[in-house]
Amino acid sequence: MAPKVGVVTFPGSLDDVDARRAVRIAGAEPVALWHGDHDLQGVDAIVLPGGFSYGDYLRCGAIARFAPIMTEVVAAANAGVPVLGICNGFQILCESHLLPGALIRNDHRTFVCRDQQLVIENASTAWTSDYTAGQTVTVPLKNGEGGFVADTATLDALEGEGRVVARYVGGNPNGSLRDIAGITNERGNVVGLMPHPEHAVEELTGPGTEGLGFFTSALTALVSR
């Protein structure tokens, strides 16, 4: 039976349907999860999708962090379940303290939407094992508050421990410190990523299929467990 990957829908989520589609194309069974439930429906991995949960009120991800289902998501993440936060999902993971740092408004103050080249630096996380370290991929990027910030000690620790999952190549699109596009936790099961791999899983609708590896990686991690 194919592993089940849950995708949480918050009020204001935009990319939950695309994330479920990416899960299906990768070969897993997508499961729609609802923010107001306390039920993960037995999924093997979880995606927090992009969008503007709760209208980005207060701070991006700040209200979503206290959504009912986040109690279960945080417990699952701490138990080793693979969790991927994309864009707003990344912001929610930072607000939840599952990942260090925070995402602030783009330094150039405008929303950016473009195909973005990334270099995968850590190919041993639950979400990047199907890539090779140093590989470059192109996936869409679209954010207004995508600038990753953390204090110097945290940045040094992330780099020193190999927890920078992906970095921007060919120009920093949002002022992220040290060109960081994605990070992981110490265990490598929780990954936050500002760009959108779920929009690059089919030739017809994206810049290519180089985002699919994030979703097949989770499948590989689950099958080999």
């Binding site: 207060l58 206290f66 260090p100 925070a102 602030i104």
Partner: protein, 80 residues
């Protein structure tokens, strides 16, 4: 009814693009004496009594929800 004010500001070392945008608009409007602008948030909390226990609770609210301590500082004060 007492009102408690929580001010939340971006930490000094954190870039504040909104404040910069406001600052950038000032010369265009003919205001030239302002050298920097930082933009924050002000929360007004109505409480039954601004006693020590309530203020301690509000400090907790400020730390867990109203601000993100990674990027922001907050202050709590009673108005009036």
């Amino acid at each position: 009814m007492p009102r408690v004010i929580v001010d939340v500001m971006p930490k000094p070392e954190i870039l504040d693009p909104q404040g910069k945008a406001v600052h950038g608009a000032l010369p265009r409007l003919g205001f030239h004496g302002i050298t920097d602008v930082r933009q924050g948030k002000r929360f007004e909390l109505e409480v039954d009594a601004a006693d020590e226990a309530t203020l301690a609770e509000i400090a907790k609210v400020a730390e867990t929800l109203l601000s993100n301590p990674v990027i922001e500082d907050y202050t709590v004060r009673v108005e009036g």
